[in-house]
Symmetry: C2
Subunit: 439 residues, 2 copies
């Protein structure tokens, strides 16, 4: 038995206990208060690890500990079978929470300090009791992956689970999802869920739920509230500011993760969020042109063509990259052009060749904000003539997902063009509001 | 003769005249005021095209015109030979304006309505007489291309022209550049111009200079002012707001075009702009940690490796794209990962293979804002282990340009890593200021 294990046993310490430890350091005495962490598996076991209130871990050498006091025993999470202890209440809406993995359903791996997916959807729901007062919540873990591992094939599975839940009597669905690719999945569901008659809310967390600064609980609370609302759209609900003031509900096709780590990383691009959600109650609508809740069967139209790629344009890009995709049998390519949607002049013949071989080439802008316009400059007009499809003010990521979905329905380029320019789920705004830039 | 030509002749109208046109529409009369545009060459010629003050063109059916009045004749721009009329004034700083093309040096092709590069740098300078009061301005057209056609090889040429001008007695250099790839060029010059002792300012326009709403004149005025300042850095100077209030000077390695069309499209990412420039006079510094003007020879260190690519990560991306680049002899790849800099787990072996074959793989984030961190999640740690180089809070575009430059100096991967993580031109901030998100 390692020294730390022996020490914990002797003092009756368990992982999760809140303790006060007094450490000798020369003539001084230092006091730490925090939670007992499990000993690192690979450490020599000479130290007791304490998680301080500020989130940092400190390792205290066992031999230097003069005293230890348990302030509060680790609380065993009540093992409630909530379906029994929380029977469906009359008058409350029914919300299904589908777990897919990600930080919102993850905990720190104390072996390595890294974050791993771990919580089941049930544990997650139990950690946020508020939501049980808003709705009859049924959590269900349908997959458990980090969102960077999300694949187009999984989108179809999620869409089918959502449709099944909504058609089976749920009033709304919440999807717990990793934040990295949450916007891609939100886009995919926006196109795949046809005749959507109830809310579908994707939610994530930028800090895992066992960290003091976690945004998981508030985001989930707001997500469940939005899932009981009148908005029959696919939305992303995340923090609106870094502090715990409110969440925003973004339209699934117009949202993007704009920061690697901030809690308010998700932003509506070229569009206004649908609503502000106050965690203590209340939805403040920021627009009125959303799809309303209605009756009718939700259809999961999940056919997609996976041979699609995104190609970002930069000075020096070689046309051989596009040629390679064509040669490899890709059926569609979304170009992230510069400015209004441009590519270098010597790239245009490669676009023309792709189109001639039946590959759909769609044009978006790496600026992200604003609208492509291939009519202003001569290279743009040449690109149009080569057969490229300008994607209005669609995000590159949204155009990518949409193109996969469109190509799952037709391979006829004129029909692809028509569908890409048809507004299926708010992905194209007729004009871009001035107040949506960097908002 | 087409109807419109006959109509213009009959009323003495010339292209560029400011007119008031009264149109009959049923029982109503509608009045338009604006500039007479040349008839589209391919149109049937049944309409007179008027450019309204808001920038839009309206076509008025000739047969419906009840009256037309010339408010102001088109003014011929005075043909001044400024080198003669404006001899070098004692006490004024000397500024070279290098023209490279782009909207700031372009005019509308009235045959097609498209914008073509046309103005010489001389014409450009004549259009903005204010700058001759601030400096002894010498314009020089060194190339004339649309910025989407800018190539890495041209960066070296520009850098050499800049060094030549600065070492030849100019006190600052302004580079008129198309906006599409201006940020890439700014990055390139930031790395290539070593021992920079004087200001180098890139400037562009989002609206061509013969449009009423053009930002060309004010941007150029502010750029020349900045070129006479104490800041010995490569900067981008563009509108700070959509109205003509002030311009911002952005550090060349931290700036990005964030909107396809707005005049205030350029933004500092993860950093604060260096200064606000008021067009009527005055520079308001927003930070003090900039490189100061000094003595000494500027060195154009222009060696780059052009076989570098940017690869954006998205759900469903195939590792074959990276394999292709390795097989094609690329020496470096900048990955735009998701979130903190992630790639899918099944992509990691392809990164490992690339590194094993001596290809430098650098990691940035498609979020754009924030800092990559590959230590938080398990896939990130695996990516690090595979040999990827995390690029802190560098923009993907900056990392791309920097990697080209670094690979021009060494192919030793450990040295590449060291150089990529060395801060050469403000491209890495030690910590990211809270107030720089979506600013």
């Amino acid at each position: 038995m390692r020294k730390v294990e022996e020490f914990m046993k002797r003092h009756g310490l368990e992982v999760g206990d809140l303790v006060r430890v007094v450490k000798r350091e020369g003539d001084e005495r230092i006091t730490f208060e925090g939670l007992v962490m499990p000993p690192y598996e690979l450490s020599p076991g000479e130290t007791l690890t304490i998680k301080l209130d500020n989130g940092y871990n400190v390792g205290v050498l066992i031999d230097a500990i003069e005293g230890v006091e348990i302030l509060e025993k680790a609380v065993e999470k009540p093992k409630m079978e909530f379906k029994e202890v929380l029977p469906r209440k009359e008058g409350l809406p029914n919300v299904r929470i589908l777990g897919t993995g990600g930080t919102i359903a993850s905990r720190i791996d104390y072996k390595t300090g890294a974050v791993h997916p771990a919580f089941t959807a049930e544990e997650l729901a139990k950690a946020v009791p508020e939501i049980f007062e808003m709705a009859n919540v049924t959590p269900e873990l349908i997959m458990n992956i980090l969102s960077e591992d999300m694949k187009p094939a999984y989108w179809a599975r999620i869409a089918e689970e959502v449709a099944k839940a909504l058609n089976g009597g749920e009033d709304g669905v919440v999807i717990a999802h990793g934040t990295d690719t949450m916007a891609y999945t939100a886009s995919a569901l926006s196109f795949m869920l046809r005749n959507l008659t109830k809310p579908v809310v994707l939610v994530g967390a930028q800090r895992s739920s066992d960290r003091p600064s976690s945004d998981a609980a508030m985001n989930l609370t707001c997500a469940v509230r939005m899932a009981t609302s009148d908005v029959a759209e696919v939305m992303v609900v995340m923090h609106g500011e870094t502090s715990d003031t409110y969440c925003l509900a973004h339209r699934g096709t117009k949202v993007r993760k704009m920061h690697t780590s901030r809690r308010d990383a998700f932003r509506s691009i070229n569009d206004v969020p649908i609503a502000r959600i106050w965690p203590k109650g209340g939805i403040e609508f920021l627009r009125s042109d959303y799809r309303r809740r209605s009756e009718g069967e939700v259809i999961a139209d999940t056919k997609i063509e996976e041979k699609v790629a995104i190609l970002k344009i930069y000075p020096g890009i070689s046309g051989e990259l596009l040629d390679f995709l064509v040669d490899k049998g890709y059926k569609g390519v979304v170009i992230e052009g510069t400015g209004l949607g441009h590519v270098p002049q010597d790239f245009i013949p490669h676009v023309q060749r792709a189109v001639e071989e039946g590959v759909a080439v769609c044009v978006t802008s790496q600026c992200l904000y604003g609208r492509v316009n291939l009519n202003v400059y001569s290279n743009g007009r040449k690109l149009l003539k080569a057969g490229a499809i300008p994607c209005e003010d669609m995000l590159p990521e949204t155009a990518y997902v949409k193109l996969m979905w469109v190509l799952g329905h037709t391979r006829e380029l004129s029909e692809v063009r028509k569908m890409m320019l048809t507004n299926y789920a708010g992905e194209i705004t007729p004009y871009t509001r001035y107040d949506t830039f960097l908002r």
